[in-house]
Symmetry: C2
Subunit: 703 residues, 2 copies
């Protein structure tokens, strides 16, 4: 990362506005005006060959006329003039271009955009945009944008791929009372990408949480790498989740891989917390920017109302947070701070009679107790209670406790007095929300953050004994044959080269060979047509199972060849696969797609109705560790099947996890060659007895 | 409904406060003060034998001393004195008691509470409470409660089972800017129940939507009946959804029936819209109180920002609302009101350049178009746009269009200007929200309302040819035997009495009889032990399948009897069931519980892993129509299995729906006798070939 240049872009010490205008309403005017109004303390240099003064500032005809150095140049001139402006800025030694101008790749002018980036890079400049609102920073008093004002200050910074939404969210920080330090409009991402901004914000002293509104990433892998390494919480609202997967996918896996599922997997793997909607982005960003992660399972709820207590309990279940009774000695202590009809279990109900002291004392007793990992405080406004007193008491108790590794979130249900107290809390380090389920949702975000950070720190041990060369040879041979679909034999050979356990099989090209192979493999036998022109073998009458002797082999061989010719007269027939008939096992499917954003991505699910009816599958960006493979196995709805149900013994999940990880390495290694794969079905046997890939499909990338 | 007395309770023309106090801070003081401060225009009579004047009002020693009639008496005296107060009020001819006092069934004093209701009823009085905050009504300027003020006015009325939450929600109407006409605290529901209040609010001219916060209903059936008949939308937030089902259920169905599932079914059947959380209750109540139901599938989104358009599209998918492209002629019209780079499809993106005119004109064109069933309008605040102008333009256009059967919801993302415009919209009939997904969620509520009202108007045709007498005789015989678990033979006989297709079977009590019956039924045969003392027949070695001849029958008979005796020496053995071996079919499970709140409730699901692993089951309060049975079948995740997958032909869903409806009638008719039932498995065959109940279980209520 060119950190110095990005500092120049996002925290410039001097800003030129290329295309500055004296005409109100023009963007070139608005940006100068906004820089002045935000009380920017660096130098502002309006650039315009036709003006001498704008809003009291001296105007320069060109950046080259500016006496001092320029960190950032905000470009507001028409698209056709941006190249020239970039050239001049380069010559001047500008560090970064903030190109507000539109009319580039968003309207098909991709070449022009690329030319500008090339010019910028030739001078060592970075480019934010084009087609953006600009960039804003509270801590730098910088409004280098046409958004009308700096947002309400906050500890989180927001990067938005939608300019309109950025402007609207800017305004809404004041009504939501949830602020940001920086607002960065990222636009066409011709150069500076989400990954770049995340990496830079992670170094920014004024940002404690990185919030993203993402429509689509350009650099999926880099984004994941940078996010994994980031030391600050990252939260993303991904829009466009209703897109459907490509309808014309060549594999089963391809037809199941929607963009939302792959993004969800990538965020999970990279430790990025997701927001479910716009409100949720604000609410979770607030908690993530103020509170530490929830590191354990013991969350305590303190409430003055049974109703909100139950609503929070419902929400805990919805967000997968377990609630346990407080240990007896803590209950005894808590009982001192409530009337006799209160409850010290969990939720701790200090009742509608709760005074400020009871709130503070029960909170103090809880937060210092070693059993407690985090606290959610709920308050129902009553006429006699003191919302602000409680807020201040809790915040003070938290500070004085010296405890910094247990998160606290708060909900007040009430009117103006409660609003004021909540605002104070959020401004003083304790996130507060207007409904109990929202406080619980925020706590769930803090819990996810901890869990994901643990996961994403796992290292992936590359497998040994892999014959990558053989895999490549098989692919090259098929390509030399003009094919981009491998036969089952070829696919299984590649699987074998990666140590995946496929059924014992041989390709027979005559009846005699078939019998010979079958005798060697042992009966019963499965026979399948092998032809690159016949994808749906069963439909072509190209599959025979449970063949018990040599006569059966001969007969089936004839029938299969005849059927194949009848099905497709000009099909190229490689022969007939002679395969052991794998004993019954639990059917699973493993597969992969080569996602446009994230590249090779593996899928796992149970076979049969689980995949066909319930679409009960899960994705991960490859490669993945054995640990991640285990989580894939455990998160599908049918997971109990693998654990053993209805008297069945558990399946060999350890071997399955290893195989899944190996499979992910295979599709990752061959990412430049392979488009989609299926291992379907894979039969999984009892614990300790492994599994077998019964059918295999590999579709190559078209070249 | 005693509508006059309930009018007296909720819209009294005169109010006595029994236990009125001159001491500030006492509830008896607060209520008098609140009545005065709310500018109540009826008569206020403070009652206290020891005072002469409170807050400038003349005090009476007893209600009997009051010169005029009293509609409602607010009781604030201690629990021990309430009986006497009720007696006096009865003598005076008071219409209803609002008993704020606590210390009744909520602390175990159920008898005292019942005595008070008995006294009240003996004088024809109704009782609200006890253990409540009171009742408030904006349109009557009535604050007969200890909540500090009337809520922000609104068109919806709220009934709350939590007093603390009612007070907090009251205050929060001012910060949320979503108001209510009435707030009713329902407390212990000793007399007036949710059903009573719903029925009365449906007649209240100032209420257009009935909002409920429900912890638990006391009168499930009555609530359903009243809600079905109601002409106004009803929305309920049910708390306590994280409760688990009774762990010790005797049937499979019993172990799957959680309170949340049964409540969800009951609300669906009664046409009650559900709220997912507190914010959602406010948001949906606003839409339901202002807008008509969404009657069709053609919803149009109009937006000035791509970002919020995509977020709304995501939300539409989440809430199950289809989005279709606008028809060509409407697109042509819409194209007139946007720049060339806008989109007239759906979302209709009139771009960030959108003027007030474009908003109003595109909305006008849409709302009058016959294709359009409803419109969601999204707005992203920009510096140059006029949030209020757009709000007023849209509201005026809607009014002038004269269209009253197409709903409109709005979302503004922005700051104070947007807030002000949204507030104006909501106050002027068009619900507006701060995030696009919330506007879509509100539209989803309007859609559900329409769908549920259609469903709940279906009539249930009682089946003919039912031998209810026979069913009762079987139950009586078992009871006479001291049993509350029926044998499979008894259960199947009851099923047969209700026309349910059970396997052909006979109870043999000797080897000879067994052979005789088997010959008659035809081979292969299934044999099962019949003993009220052996519930788990397989575990006892009491089941033999696929018996092919008379010898097999003899041998199995011996083995089964021996096994049963070995399993439980003192088991009472009725004999051995000789049953046809039903051919393979799709396994489903039908069952029932007798829910504490709603009574007989049927369950349906697919068998095997669907029920055991995925718990993919659905409930309905019995009895249900054939149409409702079809919806049950279609809403389980495994529904495609019944429709036919993987080359299977469709199952006989029509017959299954009929049987499900019949089953529901059976458990409803026998609701005073039966606790739980299972028909598991039921095998469903190809279309037109019916189904068979293979095993049956009936558990009677303990008496």
């Amino acid at each position: 990362m060119d950190s110095d240049n990005l500092n120049g872009l996002f925290r410039p010490k001097s800003v030129a506005v290329v295309g500055a205008s004296s005409q109100a309403g023009k963007i070139g005017h608005t940006v100068v005006d906004n820089l002045i109004k935000s009380k920017y303390e660096g130098k502002i240099y309006p650039i315009n060959p036709k003006a001498t003064e704008i809003l009291g500032l001296k105007v320069y005809a060109s950046v080259n006329d500016v006496p001092g150095p320029i960190d950032a140049a905000v470009i507001t001139v028409p698209a056709s003039m941006v190249k020239e402006a970039a050239e001049e800025c380069g010559k001047k030694g500008v560090k970064g271009l903030i190109i507000i101008s539109s009319g580039f790749s968003e309207v098909g002018e991709k070449a022009l955009e690329e030319e500008i980036v090339a010019i910028a890079h030739s001078y060592g400049m970075r480019v934010l945009g084009p087609n953006i609102v600009g960039t804003l920073s509270n801590s730098d008093k910088l409004n280098a944008s046409f958004a009308p004002f700096l947002p309400l200050p906050g500890k989180s910074s927001l990067v938005s791929q939608s300019g309109a939404l950025l402007i609207a969210m800017d305004a809404s920080t004041y009504t939501r009372r949830i602020g940001f330090d920086k607002l960065i409009s990222i636009g066409n991402m011709s150069d500076v990408s989400f990954a770049d901004v995340v990496e830079w914000l992670d170094t920014d002293e004024n940002t404690s949480c990185i919030s993203l509104y993402v429509e689509g990433l350009k650099d999926g892998r880099k984004f994941m790498d940078v996010s994994k390494k980031a030391t600050k919480p990252i939260i993303a609202l991904k829009s466009g989740t209703s897109e459907h997967g490509a309808a014309a996918a060549a594999s089963h896996t391809g037809s199941l891989a929607g963009a939302a599922k792959v993004y969800g997997a990538a965020f999970h793997q990279a430790g990025v917390v997701e927001a479910s909607d716009l409100d949720n982005l604000f609410d979770r960003a607030l908690a993530l920017s103020l509170q530490p992660p929830l590191k354990g399972e013991n969350l305590l709820i303190i409430t003055n109302g049974g109703g909100v207590g139950v609503l929070a309990t419902d929400a805990a279940e919805k967000y997968g947070i377990p609630l346990r009774f407080a240990p007896p000695e803590l209950q005894t202590e808590l009982k001192k701070h409530m009337p006799s009809f209160g409850s010290a279990k969990n939720p701790v109900d200090i009742t509608g009679m709760a005074s400020t002291d009871w709130y503070v004392d029960s909170f103090k007793a809880s937060i210092i107790h070693p059993w407690v990992d985090g606290v959610v405080i709920l308050f129902c406004e009553t006429a006699s209670s003191d919302p602000m007193g409680i807020a201040q008491g809790i915040q003070k108790a938290l500070l004085e406790s010296g405890i910094k590794d247990k998160p606290v979130t708060v909900s007040y249900v009430g009117g103006e007095r409660s609003e004021t107290a909540m605002r104070w809390l959020s401004e003083n380090g304790v996130p507060a929300y207007g409904a109990p389920d929202v406080a619980m949702n925020a706590m769930a975000a803090l819990r996810q953050l901890f869990q994901m950070k643990e996961y994403s720190s796992e290292t992936i041990v590359p497998a040994k004994n892999i014959d990558a060369k053989k895999a490549k040879q098989i692919i090259d041979a098929a390509r030399a044959n003009g094919r981009d679909v491998l036969t089952e034999v070829e696919a299984k050979s590649i699987f074998e080269a990666y140590g995946l356990p496929v059924t014992n099989h041989k390709l027979a090209t005559s009846e005699e060979e078939a019998v010979q192979f079958a005798n060697k493999i042992g009966y019963p036998i499965v026979m399948k047509i092998v032809s690159p022109d016949i994808l749906h073998k069963s439909d072509a009458g190209g599959v025979k199972v449970n063949i018990k002797d040599a006569d059966g082999i001969r007969e089936s061989y004839k029938t299969i060849i005849e059927n194949a010719k009848a099905y497709k007269a000009d099909a190229s027939i490689h022969g007939v696969l002679i395969q052991e008939m794998a004993p019954w096992g639990t059917e699973v499917i493993i597969g992969s797609v080569n996602d446009a954003t994230f590249g090779p991505t593996v899928m796992f699910g149970l076979g049969g109705i689980f995949v066909e009816v319930l679409k009960d599958v899960t994705f991960r960006v490859a490669p993945i560790s054995v640990g991640e493979s285990r989580r894939m196995m455990n998160e599908i709805k049918g997971a109990p099947i693998l654990a053993g149900v209805r008297g069945e013994s558990p399946r060999d999940r350890e071997k399955l996890a290893e195989i899944l990880s190996l499979y992910s390495q295979m599709v990752y290694d061959l990412r430049n060659e392979i488009s989609e794969t299926d291992a379907n079905p894979v039969l999984v046997y009892e614990e300790g007895t492994g599994l077998k890939v019964v059918d295999a499909r590999i579709i190559l990338k078209k070249i």
